[in-house]
């Protein structure tokens, strides 16, 4: 049975040089479709991809990725922005790659658009006030 999964892959410097996409195609017969990517020169980064293929192949492919040290999260994973805790400082808005967290310049107030969020978790690191959380 063929399935489609939307995933966020977080990886660190030591695994970035592995031919991830190539292996998924060649070894696991999967069709990866990269929706978004950010890899910084320190070579940590994330990829948002849609992975299509046989159900068992997808499971094997994901298992292989995890064995390489890639942290996987489904795109369904939700970031929760807690407005009660938020101070509207705006620190997250400089780091959020999709402008899911953005600042209305007139009021200097922050808002969260969950539809733009790719669950990359950058805001979790950037928010010193603990106003963003991941809902597993």
């Amino acid at each position: 049975m063929s399935i489609k999964k939307r995933l966020v892959l977080h990886f660190s410097a030591d695994i970035v040089d592995k031919p991830m996409v190539f292996t998924l195609v060649k070894k696991y017969n999967l069709v990866p479709n990269i929706l978004q990517a950010e890899i910084n020169p320190e070579k940590e980064g994330y990829l948002v991809m849609e992975l299509e293929g046989d159900k068992d192949d997808v499971a094997l492919g994901l298992g292989w990725l995890e064995s390489c040290g890639v942290e996987l999260s489904e795109l369904g994973e939700r970031i929760i922005w807690n407005e009660e805790i938020c101070t509207h400082c705006g620190a997250c808005t400089g780091i959020c790659p999709t402008e899911a967290l953005s600042m209305a310049r007139s009021e200097m107030k922050v808002s969260f658009n969950s539809e733009k969020c790719i669950a990359c978790r950058m805001c979790l690191a950037a928010c010193s006030f603990g106003a963003v959380q991941v809902n597993f």
Binding site: N40, P41, E42, E44, T87, H88, C89, G90, A91, C92, T93, G94, I95, M103, R105, E107, M108, K109, M122, A125, A126, S128, F129, G130
Partner: protein, 393 residues
């Protein structure tokens, strides 16, 4: 007509409920519409505000005596060490002190989930905090060990006393290296991928009285949601910093040491923070009322974001290596727009301090004064300043 108002005259108006009080944002438009002289005649007080992570903060606590008595020589609060080298049951809890055994930056940038700042926030929130104390025991203070839960109201005394708060102006941080760095100026992406800044700009207290003509020891202020005072010039107070033609410093410059009762504060304006890769600190709301003694004071309070410049400092190399210089300047109007252009490159900017909360501080202080609940404190001595003032011609 020359305008000359004294603190006492303004306080008399506050008591009568006739004082005209506006925020540092509102005064800009009023002065533009009516002119400096007429605005200075009409307005008595301009309120300022800021809410941000204040580098050097902490609180003195006194637990009251135990039975039998104890000379506490080693203290933790929720497992965060407090300085006990004072008298029997006094201590100082610093904002950046970490919980014992925090893994810090050993496994990549640390999360620093709990520290002294969070202890202070928990106390202000009315939560229980566990005191663990040890002593070597003396003839007059025999008790050697104590573990006891305390809430703020069960303490004998608890006051915030920050050696350095409310920096007049500050660096904007960026990173020229090819690696992401984790600093007290936030996460800075490689190759100048972003710029973070931290000031309320035109609303910021010391930028509205750049030469500290009205601010000094005894100035009554808004502190953490309650009433506090300027106790002393803050550590690193540097009035001789370079200034622009309006007298606005183009770097850190002035600071205050601030003091106030924790019991009057609230967590809306006092919050512990966990800065990834750096540590913990305390975010505080501070507002200073500026009395409009004359036209010159009114002029200073009309300062706008475009009149204030922040140096853009490289936290990747220059800052850690204590190399002087910067990568240029940007005004707070530019920084607040969300994007700054340096050498033809557009760079995303983000604030670390909350402008909307700064506004809330200034509005709250304005209301207190209008309601006659808050009178101005005339400083017994103003903060050290420089001889010649620039600004109003």
């Amino acid at each position: 007509m020359t305008i000359n108002k004294s603190f006492e005259e303004i306080n008399e108006k506050i008591r009568k409920g006739t004082a005209v009080v506006v925020t540092a944002e509102e005064v800009i438009e009023i002065a533009a519409a009516e002119g400096l002289n007429s605005a200075a005649k009409k307005i008595d007080v301009v309120t300022t505000g800021t809410f941000g992570i204040m580098c050097s903060s902490g609180a003195f606590l006194n637990f009251g005596h135990t039975t039998p008595k104890m000379r506490m020589s080693n203290i933790t609060l929720n497992d965060v060490p407090a300085y006990a080298g004072l008298a029997a049951v006094d201590c100082y809890i610093g904002a950046t002190e970490l919980k014992i055994n925090d893994s810090c930056n050993q496994n990549g940038p640390g999360k620093f989930r709990y520290g002294g700042a969070h202890v202070i926030e928990d106390l202000v929130a009315g939560k229980k905090v566990t005191l663990k104390a040890k002593s070597y025991g003396t003839d007059c203070y025999p008790l050697r060990e104590l573990e006891k839960d305390f809430t703020l109201s069960e303490m004998r005394d608890a006051f915030l006393f920050s050696p350095r708060n409310a920096y007049q102006n500050y660096n904007a941080g960026t990173n020229t290296t090819d690696k992401t760095i984790y600093t007290y100026m936030g996460i800075l992406k490689p190759n100048m991928g972003n710029i973070n800044y931290s000031s309320a700009g035109q609303l910021s207290p010391l930028l509205n009285d750049p030469y500290y003509r009205t601010i000094g020891i005894g100035t009554r202020i808004f502190l953490g949601g309650g009433v506090g005072y300027v106790a002393w010039p803050g550590t690193q107070h540097a009035p001789a910093e370079a200034r622009n033609e309006r007298g606005i410093p183009t770097g850190g410059a002035g600071t205050i040491a601030a003091i106030g009762n924790l019991a009057n504060m609230n967590t809306e304006f006092l919050r512990g923070v966990s800065i990834i890769g750096y540590g913990t600190s305390l975010a505080i709301g501070i507002g200073i009322p500026i009395p409009i003694l004359d036209e010159e004071m009114l002029y200073y309070t009309t300062v706008k974001d475009e009149d204030i410049q922040a140096p853009i400092v490289d936290y990747g190399t220059a800052y850690p290596n204590a190399e002087p210089g910067n990568l240029g300047y940007a005004s707070y109007a530019e920084l607040k727009s969300g994007e700054v252009t340096i050498n033809g490159k557009k760079i995303k900017t983000a604030p670390l301090s909350s402008y909307s909360k700064a506004k809330q501080v200034a509005e709250t202080l304005k209301q207190w004064i209008k309601d006659g609940e808050f009178e101005l404190g005339q400083p017994t001595q103003t903060l050290p300043s420089v001889k010649d003032r620039r600004g109003l011609k």
